[in-house]
């Protein structure tokens, strides 16, 4: 664990992308489905998942996309990144979506489909269930 950017507690299933996400233009804000045909998560829904991805990229308005998916009840339960970026950090801060930054080693050990519990107050914030 490198940093806790937005606190919270949840548990759920990992959806992992090896590639960064440009929230504006990649995520449909009404459905939470990845709409960019070139993205590895194309057609997958991020709703109620624990979304793990290296970092956010691109448009600064992506922060509104994160706020919108939360308002539309299609947001992930939490986000886990390798690198902090301001679009994801501030989008999650306003939308109250827990966000943690983990080490490269921890990131490479996460796999889509794993069930985990995330608790930013705990001494061991991420545990496999």
């Amino acid at each position: 664990m490198k940093k806790i950017l937005v606190q919270g507690k949840t548990h759920g299933i990992i959806l992992k992308s090896q590639h960064p996400i440009n929230f504006l233009g990649t995520v449909d804000k009404k459905t939470g489905i990845i709409s960019d045909k070139n993205h590895e998560l194309f057609d997958k829904s991020i709703k109620d998942k624990i979304l793990a991805f290296p970092n956010g990229v691109g448009s600064s308005v992506g922060a509104y996309t994160i706020y919108s998916i939360k308002s539309n009840n299609v947001a992930p339960l939490a986000m886990i990144c390798q690198k902090a970026d301001l679009t994801v950090a501030t989008g999650c801060a306003l939308a109250n979506i827990p966000l943690v930054i983990i080490t490269d080693k921890e990131f490479s050990s996460l796999k889509t489909g794993q069930k985990i519990s995330l608790d930013t107050e705990s001494s061991n914030p991420i545990t496999l269930l």
Binding site: K3, I4, L5, V6, P20, N22, L24, G25, T26, K29, K30, S35, D36, N38, N55, G56, V57, G58, S59, S60, V61, G62, A63, Y64, T65, Y67, S68, K70, S71, N72, K83, A84, D85, L86, T87, A89, T90, G91, C92, A93, L94, I101
Partner: protein
């Protein structure tokens, strides 16, 4: 991060809900960028204006906070979804127009200047060297750091808004003197603005906070803007320096193959149903240059030109507008190619543009195919 007593009190909610939200966003920004304190800024430039991008949730959020929030520093604004002068020509529904006007009203109520431009660095006076600003528009943040001697993070829509309301920003790495640890060696000969857009797109993908770019000289304004636009689209990188950098810098080449890869990713059509120019919006110099390039020629298909309102007004006074309209151009102020609701896949299959940034969002957000061409190629192929 160390906070003053006043900042602590705002974070606790003792100065109202708006201030508490703003400080929560600044704290997240500070933690994300390892800042140790907050410092004052002199200018904020906000994104999150176009109803097409922020939607109902964004419109409601802004309407809510505008009841209490007021900006503390000079604050300017990104493009919105249309030009009110000619919106009736584009078949936008009434809901879109009223929601867009509500967003605009909320910003006005907060004390924001309704500049509706993604090129604040071209239409406002640049403050003195080293001034701290908060620019959310990605191309503008990169331009400010790289060409205008200003200092900004690649802000998010919310971090810039929080900075506007508090007059503060976290003292992050990009606001200090930093030196890039990566140098990109430009290996393409005779580059045009399209090549520079691709170089920027590549740099955004491989760079982190900042990069050196070597092998580049004599860029015109169009190419500078294309480089900033491309870089802002693909990555987190917010600054570049020209030169080789420290001898210890990691080196990466930008060559034919890299260019072909980007072309394969973004160029999906052989030709376009219409042409768009501007993403970033065109400044007066580019409008003037386009007018002289078009002398006597006319477009064979629709050509939409996006610029700030101040530029549209100047162009009209000087007489460029007449010339451009004669050549078949539609001139639109206050909006931009990037994320425009005026191009819909219901009636357009493909768009020709010289903008890498425009291409990315046309493809991914508007869902239309893109035909990439430099401006000189567009004029050669698409006018007579």
């Amino acid at each position: 991060m160390e906070l003053t007593k006043d900042e602590e009190s705002a974070l606790k909610g003792e100065q109202g809900e708006v201030m508490q939200t703003a400080y929560r966003i600044l704290i997240a920004t500070g933690e994300a960028t390892d800042a140790e304190k907050l410092i004052p800024i002199e200018w904020a430039h906000l994104s999150g204006v176009n109803y097409n991008t922020i939607g109902d949730a964004g419109e409601e959020f802004l309407s809510g906070i505008s009841k209490n929030a007021r900006v503390k520093v000079k604050t300017t604004l990104n493009p919105m979804g249309f030009d009110i002068d000619n919106v009736s020509n584009y078949g936008l529904d009434d809901n879109f127009i009223s929601k867009q006007l509500s967003i605009s009203k909320s910003y006005e109520t907060m004390g924001v200047a309704l500049s509706f431009s993604c090129i604040p660095y071209e239409i406002f006076d640049i403050p003195k060297e080293g001034t701290q600003v908060s620019f959310a528009e990605s191309n503008a943040a990169i331009h400010a750091n790289s060409f205008d001697n200003l200092k900004t993070n690649k802000e998010s829509a919310f971090s810039a808004l929080a900075s506007a309301i508090t007059g503060k920003t976290p003292y992050s790495l990009l606001r200090k003197e930093d030196s890039p640890n990566l140098t990109i060696r430009m290996k393409i000969n005779n580059p045009n603005e399209l090549t520079y857009g691709m170089l920027g797109f590549f740099a955004g993908k491989v760079g982190n906070n900042s990069v050196n770019i070597s092998g580049v000289k004599d860029m015109d304004k169009r190419s500078c803007k294309a480089l900033c636009g491309g870089m802002g689209t693909s990555g987190t990188c917010a600054k570049f320096l020209f030169g080789d950098g420290d001898p210890g810098c990691e080196k990466v080449d930008f060559d034919k193959k890299d260019m072909n890869d980007i072309n394969d990713e973004l160029n999906t059509a052989e030709k376009g149903d219409l042409i768009t120019l501007g993403s970033p919006q065109l400044g007066l110099d580019e409008i003037s240059d386009l007018t002289s390039k078009l002398k006597g020629r006319s477009f064979k298909k629709r050509c939409m030109i996006f610029c700030p309102r101040t530029v549209k007004e100047q162009a009209r006074k000087i007489g460029y507008t007449n010339e451009l309209e004669r050549a078949g151009c539609e001139i639109l102020a206050d909006c931009c190619t990037c994320l425009t609701p005026l191009i819909s896949k219901d009636n357009i299959d493909s768009v020709t543009t010289n903008s890498i940034k425009g291409a990315y969002y046309l493809k991914n957000s508007n869902g239309v195919d893109v035909n990439l061409k430099s401006l000189s190629q567009i004029i050669e192929d698409e006018t007579r």
